[in-house]
């Protein structure tokens, strides 16, 4: 039993904290809001530090690490609300590495590690937003010699799609089987429409009517790609948990500072028990998020069946994360309403993650089926 980080993992977390802390300053984030929000400078620094290929094999230029290490880096990103497509690009790259052909890996992954190729994932769907039930339709092309799979449909709120070179798109055949394909965003038949998201980060809706060549089908070409989709979905959820953990910590840190230094009735706000207790509860929730996220990341990295672990972590990240950023916003009083003060950024990203790939009740419903159905 050793449920703590190794020395190497602590060093990695420290490195990430330094990079995000130095570059993703409040001034920088404010400045990015005047453009579309993507921090390209930070992105190239992350590439130089090797953090864009963290979980990619060394042969492609990566560091060959696993989900725990990625979580530590994402946590620091959340802590500094840094505006880069790290989770979506990393999970897409890991999915390619896990399931795609060697040729496709050779074609895509070196650029990902170098920071010149940006990937994204299109997991969310219009309607019930059930990642395991994609709204894009997949049709096998049999009339041409080259073959391929035609994808028709649309995907909402694809993270940083307007900056991505490829997007991993999930789709469903009429017979219910799943296809995961790497879609070139420059391809004819792909329309990217930027939308404004609640977290103020770049995202775009995708309209897709495109034939994906067989070489770009990651999983499900001749069989059902459901397990690959489940793999990508679970890793994506834990990535979001890790960011949310950082977001919650960032919110609490700035809030603790505020209630210690802001005086009313001749004493700090934190001297009021009602204030101190609410802050303490936010801290407790954050620790619950930390242990459940770390556990889920470890279970995934070890290749264990982590379905329940992921849902437990996601329940805390959605329900718990939401309550933490809400407490942070609330305890700032009127100060929090001023957008030149940064606390609202934690709130905005926190509530976005709380619904991004399904809300708390959706995760609980899944978990309930797993543990109690008979």
């Amino acid at each position: 039993m050793n449920f703590d980080l190794s020395d190497e993992q602590q060093v990695l977390g420290g490195l990430a904290q330094q990079i995000f802390g130095d570059l993703s300053t409040i001034e920088r984030i404010t400045e990015l809001q005047t453009r579309d929000g993507f921090d390209a400078t930070l992105w190239s620094e992350l590439a130089k530090a090797g953090l864009l290929g963290l979980c990619v094999a060394e042969e492609h230029g990566g560091l060959a690490m696993h989900m725990v290490e990625l979580s530590l880096v994402l946590e620091q990103q959340g802590r500094y609300i840094a505006q880069v497509p790290l989770w979506s690009s990393s999970i897409a790259a890991m999915t390619v590495a896990e399931f795609a052909s060697q040729e496709l890996q050779n074609q895509v992954l070196p650029g990902v590690c170098a920071g010149t190729t940006i990937l994204s994932t299109a997991l969310a769907n219009f309607g019930a937003n059930d990642s395991m039930n994609p709204s894009v339709e997949a049709i096998d092309v049999i009339e041409t010699k080259e073959g391929g799979i035609r994808l028709i449909g649309s995907k909402p709120a694809v993270p940083y799609a307007q900056h991505a070179h490829y997007v991993v798109v999930s789709a469903k055949r009429a017979n219910g089987s799943i296809v995961l394909a790497l879609v070139d965003t420059d391809a004819r038949g792909v329309t990217i429409t930027p939308v404004e998201g609640s977290d103020r980060q770049p995202q775009a809706n995708m309209e897709i009517d495109v034939v994906v060549p067989t070489s770009h089908v990651i999983s499900g070409l001749t069989s059902d790609g459901r397990e690959a989709l489940r793999w990508m979905h679970e890793h994506s959820l834990v990535a979001l948990c890790a960011i949310q953990l950082g977001v919650a910590q960032g919110s609490i840190a700035i809030t603790a500072e505020h209630v210690k230094t802001r005086h009313q009735f001749g004493k700090p706000l934190s001297a009021q028990q009602a204030v101190a207790v609410r802050a303490a509860d936010a801290y407790i929730t954050t620790e619950a998020m930390r242990v459940t996220t770390l556990n889920a990341a470890w279970q995934l990295a070890e290749g264990f069946d982590a379905r329940q672990d992921v849902l437990v972590a996601m329940y805390w990240a959605t329900e718990g994360g939401h309550s933490v950023v809400l407490a942070g916003q609330h305890l700032h009083g009127g100060v929090g309403a001023d957008i030149s003060y940064p606390v609202h950024r934690f709130f905005l990203w926190g509530i976005q993650i709380s619904t991004q790939l399904g809300g708390a009740s959706q995760h609980l419903a899944r978990l309930g089926k797993l543990i109690a159905s008979k």
Binding site: F3, A288, W298
Partner: protein, 403 residues
């Protein structure tokens, strides 16, 4: 050392040994524990019998040093054993104070003579111990105790009243906090005593609780004489010694040793055909998610303790998380039981255990520092919020306004 959630190969060997010992001497527990609340005296006897078996077979005091009669193992092994033991139908509750709280305190603060006199019989299960800390006017503000001890030659003479004393009516010894220097500020003038409960002037009155059991007692102390050699950790040093005890208590309460599990509630829900209801399922899922959090917090604590580190705020969080989990899950249990939830006693489903646990929640929420006290501590230690301004820290206790 890299992360390893779950047993290392060496841990797994130890777990197998523990399981094999347990299955030779006890029967596996059914889904819901046998209820013992009607016969507390019988429960105490069962605890003694089981502790003797542990002692005779070298499984008592797993993490206690060999010099004190323990197994000399690690705290991790102690947790593994407790985890396995909880799957068997054995009684351990009445030694929670002695083995979980007094033992560690005695080892840390006791004299060689005290070690020799008390630790072995404690480990063997010969003696039941109780805690004489809280008073009618000193609960959360424990340092405000008013029970007085005055030195008379080489004997202390004690007068006062204690309350919420678990197993007091069955106890051979008690750990007692009494005020020995009223002129000092409240934290400074307290002494920690070992009290022979058979002493003249000790009167124990059981308190029947909402559960129908008299687990707690009031203890009245009238001119009780305690030999000066039974001071633990030095005269007027009682607050520091008491903190060792309270730390152990929180770790014990938060550490589970739980008499119920979410799995057992799920089984009951399935038995009653309630798991078709998605709302019930979601509540069971939330209970499962909370239980997992407590498991992982426990893993963090075990890791810290196996590395010889002081546990962080996890300990306070765990105690609080456990109390809230208990409260919320028993609400869910009542929903699962439906109309049966209105019934009480041995003849209802699962022998009335869920109703009993519903009513027992207050002991968990209030004991070892209330939920609100834990929240205050978490604010101070986890977030660095300033301590609440306290007007009475430096005044002589004698001058304080008493409740």
């Amino acid at each position: 050392m890299s992360m390893q959630i779950g047993d290392s190969p060496a841990d797994a060997v130890f777990r197998d040994q523990a399981r094999s010992f347990l299955s030779q001497h006890a029967s596996p527990r059914s889904e819901v524990v046998a209820n013992w609340h009607d016969d507390l005296g019988g429960h105490v006897e069962a605890c003694k019998k089981w502790q003797h078996i542990l002692y005779d077979n070298g499984w008592a005091g797993i993490s206690w040093p060999e010099q004190f009669g323990g197994r000399g193992g690690t705290s991790l092994q102690a947790s593994i054993f407790a985890e396995e033991q909880s799957k068997f139908d054995v009684a351990t509750g009445s030694f929670a104070v002695s083995l979980g709280m007094v033992g560690p305190t005695l080892m840390a603060h006791g004299t060689p003579q005290q070690h020799a006199e008390f630790l072995s019989p404690m480990l063997r299960g010969d003696h039941v111990w109780c805690q004489l800390f809280s008073e009618p006017n000193a609960g959360s503000d424990l340092a405000n105790i008013g029970t007085r001890a005055v030195l008379d030659g080489d004997t202390w003479v004690v007068n006062g009243q204690k309350v919420w004393t678990s197993f007091g009516q069955f106890s051979d010894y008690g750990i007692l906090l009494a005020r020995t220097e009223p002129e000092s500020p409240k934290h400074k003038g307290i002494t920690y005593f070992i009290l022979d409960m058979k002493s003249v002037g000790v009167e124990v009155r059981p308190l029947v609780q909402i559960t129908g059991v008299a687990h707690f007692n009031e203890v009245f102390l009238s001119d009780v004489r305690i030999p000066a050699v039974n001071v633990l950790g030095g005269v007027n040093n009682g607050w520091a010694v008491a903190n060792t005890t309270l730390t152990s208590e929180r770790a014990f309460i938060g550490g589970g040793g739980s008499s119920w599990t979410v799995e057992a509630l799920v089984a009951t829900a399935q038995k009653l055909g309630r798991t078709q209801d998605p709302i019930v399922r979601q509540k069971l899922a939330a209970a499962y998610a909370r239980a997992q959090t407590i498991v992982y917090l426990g893993y963090r604590l075990r890791t810290a303790s196996s590395l010889g580190l002081m546990p962080g705020p996890e300990m306070f969080i765990m105690k609080l998380a456990y109390a809230r989990h208990w409260e919320q899950t028993m609400d869910t249990a009542m929903e699962v039981l439906g109309a049966d939830a209105m019934l009480w006693g041995d003849n209802v489903i699962d022998s009335g255990e869920w109703q009993h646990h519903l009513l027992s929640q207050f002991a968990i929420r209030l004991g070892g520092g209330t939920n609100e006290i834990q929240q205050n501590i978490i604010g101070e230690r986890g977030l660095g919020l300033p301590r609440e301004p306290s007007v009475d820290r430096n005044l002589p206790w004698r001058e304080l306004v008493k409740g």
